[in-house]
């Protein structure tokens, strides 16, 4: 049996903040869920199944929190799945939810991803000493800085490229009322003047630590017909590669390249930069924009990424607008960050992105990665029902 068409008809997200002390975990999720259901014109009674995603349970200090959340998420009496695939989890969760519809098992699926980082301490949660394992003790920035240095060395990128990305994303975030950071007046110069944290990554080039959630309503073709502007799912992909392998290329991982190739093929896209109108790419540290642009095939792998960024090609009015929402650099509720990318891509093709809408966007990419760049989840959504 062929894959059934599926579309996003409801999108909701929270206001992302460092500490959402006004809501519990359940309240945070419901803020996103209620907005997504209102957007879809549905209630929880209309939902067949619920898929929850989040990053490690140690981030909040509750083991398998979806069990205690089941009732408040409206899952009691329904099938409930809990996905956890590291930082890519928000994307993977949306893909699992989509597969429930694509498999023909359910017609209306609600998916929610969240992180309430203020409940615990992410740095601690990532650094629990494990016997017989190499301690990382680096946090994410220290882990990824060598990858970035390697990219700069390979590509000959000028040192201010990361600052261009940061200034762009922080400026884009001013048009997104949900973004965690609204830092007026961020410029390349101000980013370059900020504190160096993990050379070459400066303070203003790192993502914040956020509380937040994102929810999507994904439905079958018949249900989607009732929506004025469904975002049709044109392709989904997940790929994973090894963590410990000397031959890994962490700058441009094979899992990323393989995932992109499979995704473009599924979506019938031959030239991503010409056919994708907006991209929401997982960029937790500024330099990952040019790195992923190359890996995804938006630019050549010999420095095409930084040249595209430097030319202004990834700005709101550029050839391929990247992270019009402000991206992970402006809001990072880890478990939800991937779903925010997927949801923001869907908002663009629905023409519902408000002040950060790209005019006439018809096809958009949602992208997430996790771990030490070994887990990838991506989708392409379009304003038109897929023909392939």
């Amino acid at each position: 049996m062929a894959k059934q068409p599926a579309a996003v008809v409801g999108i909701g997200q929270t206001h992302h903040r460092a500490k959402r002390e006004d809501v519990s975990m359940a309240g945070l999720c419901r803020e996103a869920i209620d907005r997504a259901l209102a957007d879809a014109g549905m209630t929880l009674d209309d939902v067949d199944a619920i898929v929850v995603g989040k990053a490690p349970d140690l981030f909040e200090g509750v083991m398998m929190p979806e069990l205690f959340l089941a009732e408040s998420l409206g899952a009691a009496g329904k099938p409930l799945l809990r996905v956890h695939t590291a930082g890519s989890v928000g994307g993977s969760t949306a893909i699992v939810a989509a597969s429930l519809v694509q498999a023909g098992v359910h017609k209306r699926v609600l998916t929610v991803a969240y992180e309430k980082q203020s409940e615990s301490n992410a740095m601690w949660a990532l650094s629990v000493p494990v016997p017989f394992n190499m301690p990382v003790h680096a946090g994410a920035g220290g882990y990824f800085a060598p990858h970035v240095r390697s990219y700069i060395r390979r590509s000959g990128a000028p040192t201010h490229i990361g600052a261009i990305v940061a200034a762009k994303d922080r400026t884009n975030a001013l048009r997104n009322p949900y973004a965690h950071l609204h830092n007026e007046g961020t410029t390349v110069e101000s980013v370059m003047a900020s504190q160096m944290l993990w050379d070459p990554i400066r303070y203003d080039e790192t993502c914040p630590s956020s509380d937040g959630a994102c929810a999507l309503v994904i439905v079958d073709e018949d249900t989607a017909k009732a929506s004025p502007n469904p975002a049709w799912i044109h392709g989904t992909v997940m790929r994973s590669e090894a963590t410990s392998a000397a031959e890994r290329d962490q700058v441009n991982p094979q899992a990323s390249r393989d995932a992109a190739a499979a995704l473009w093929k599924q979506a019938g896209i031959t030239s991503p930069i010409d056919e994708i109108d907006a991209a929401e790419i997982y960029v937790p540290f500024s330099w990952f924009e040019p790195m992923w642009l190359e890996s995804l095939g938006f630019a050549d792998a010999n420095g095409g990424g930084w040249r595209l960024t430097e030319s202004g090609g990834t700005a709101m009015d550029g050839r391929i607008p990247v992270n019009c929402s402000g991206g992970v650099l402006s809001s990072n509720p880890i478990g939800a960050s991937g779903m925010l990318r997927f949801g923001e891509a869907a908002l663009q093709v629905r023409g519902a992105a408000g002040e950060h809408q790209v005019d006439g966007a018809r096809k958009a990419l949602g992208h997430a990665y996790g771990g030490g760049s070994q887990f990838f989840a991506m989708w392409v959504v379009g304003a038109a029902r897929p023909t392939n």
Binding site: M1, A2, K3, Q4, S24, A55, P56, D57, L58, F59, E60, G61, V62, M63, M64, L67, F68, A70, E71, A75, A76, G77, K78, P79, L80, L81, R82, V83, H84, T85, A86, V96, S99, A103, G104, V105, A125, L126, V128, V130, P131, F132, N133, V237, M238, R239, S240, E241, A242, T243, S244, A245, E247, P253, Q254, A255, D258, A259, G371, Q374
Partner: protein, 350 residues
């Protein structure tokens, strides 16, 4: 729906795994067994999905190293659920149903002995009003058993009969960590452990890992003489709140059973970590007295966290491969007092 079957199964269960902190080392020989059973190599597998828990492992991202056990060069199509193996299998079944892939290997692992399991699982409860009281799993199950006893829905003798049958059957299961039948009288004479539960009413703390192989249509027939075709696969969850639930019932098990279609089942492998929970499940799944329950010995003989539910499906599938049965059921549970349940019904067709 596509025809999808369980065509491979490998498991390890032990009281204490002497090795890496997460049982990851057990996965490599398990995958080897799956390849031997199917004649496949890694590249024949279209999708991988695993189940495990970071809290059980005492660290974040415990599944990351497990992915390396696959040997993921080149990269693979892979996912993970923070759930039992049975739900990892559900995700893989979905993936096959979309038509994207035809084959999958799912696996899970958990080292329960690394901590005090009954306390670790207290962290699974509602964090604001329940977890601070540290109500442990065994005590919560004791409350559940007590309600059933006090309302006359079962008696201690019925619980002991479940134990006696399970531990007698477990003598034939090389992976059982607790085995050896006795008599109902002798079992009832043993001391109580968490009133009204005796130690044998509670699943032993078990380390282990397991893997299942799924394949669609001809891919299943190619590798298995008598595939265990999945005719029903469904799951559901109830609210956690212990104070508002009728603890003698499990509505989510009933819904999953109804959706999967349990009629005509000859063998049922039920994931009941406490003896009285088998009695609840038999009722919710409408299993008559003619159904053989837990011929493997069930969870009372071995309960490796995060693979024990999937092991029930593997054991039920095996009865079909061997021709011992034509229609079997595997069940998995998660959460306190049977909160979340999955039912997989399989049949042989030759």
């Amino acid at each position: 729906m596509r025809d999808v079957a369980v065509v491979g199964f490998a498991q390890r269960q032990m009281e204490e795994f002497d090795g890496s902190p997460t049982c990851v080392e057990l996965l490599v020989p398990l995958f080897e067994e799956c390849y031997e059973q199917t004649g496949w190599t890694r590249t024949d597998v279209g999708f991988w999905c695993s189940g495990s828990s970071d809290y059980l492992a005492g660290r974040s991202f415990s599944f990351v190293q497990a992915v390396d056990a696959i040997g993921v060069i080149p990269p693979v199509n892979e996912s993970h659920v923070e759930m039992d193996l049975a739900w990892a299998m559900y995700e893989a079944w979905l993936k096959i149903q979309t038509g994207e892939v035809d084959t999958a290997v799912v696996y899970a692992f958990g080292k329960s002995s690394a901590g005090v399991l009954r306390r670790t699982l207290a962290l699974q409860l509602e964090p604001y009003t329940m977890t601070p009281l540290w109500p442990d799993t065994v005590s919560l199950a004791g409350l559940q058993a007590r309600v059933g006893l006090d309302t006359g829905q079962w008696d201690e003798r019925a619980m002991a009969e479940v134990v006696n049958r399970s531990l007698t059957d477990a003598e034939k299961n090389e992976y059982a960590v607790r085995k050896g039948g006795s008599s109902v009288e002798e079992l009832l004479a043993r001391p109580r452990y968490a009133d009204p539960l005796r130690k044998h009413d509670c699943a032993p703390v078990t380390d282990g890992a397991a893997a299942l192989v799924l394949a669609a249509g001809d891919r299943a027939r190619e590798v298995c003489d008598r595939p265990a075709w999945i005719t029903g696969l469904a799951h559901s969850v109830d609210a956690m709140s212990m104070g508002t639930r009728d603890l003698t019932r499990s509505p989510s098990a009933e819904r999953a059973g109804t959706a999967a279609g349990t009629a005509g089942v000859e063998v049922a492998e039920l994931h009941a970590p406490f003896s009285h929970q088998e009695l609840i499940l038999r009722r919710e799944l409408a299993l008559g007295d003619d159904v053989a329950v837990n011929p493997s010995g069930g969870a009372l003989a071995g309960n490796p966290m995060f693979s024990a539910g999937g092991i029930r499906i593997g054991e039920a599938a095996r009865r079909i491969w061997t021709g011992d049965a034509t229609r079997t059921l595997g069940h998995a549970t998660s959460g306190p007092a049977l909160q979340q349940n999955l039912v997989c019904v399989m049949e042989g067709r030759s």
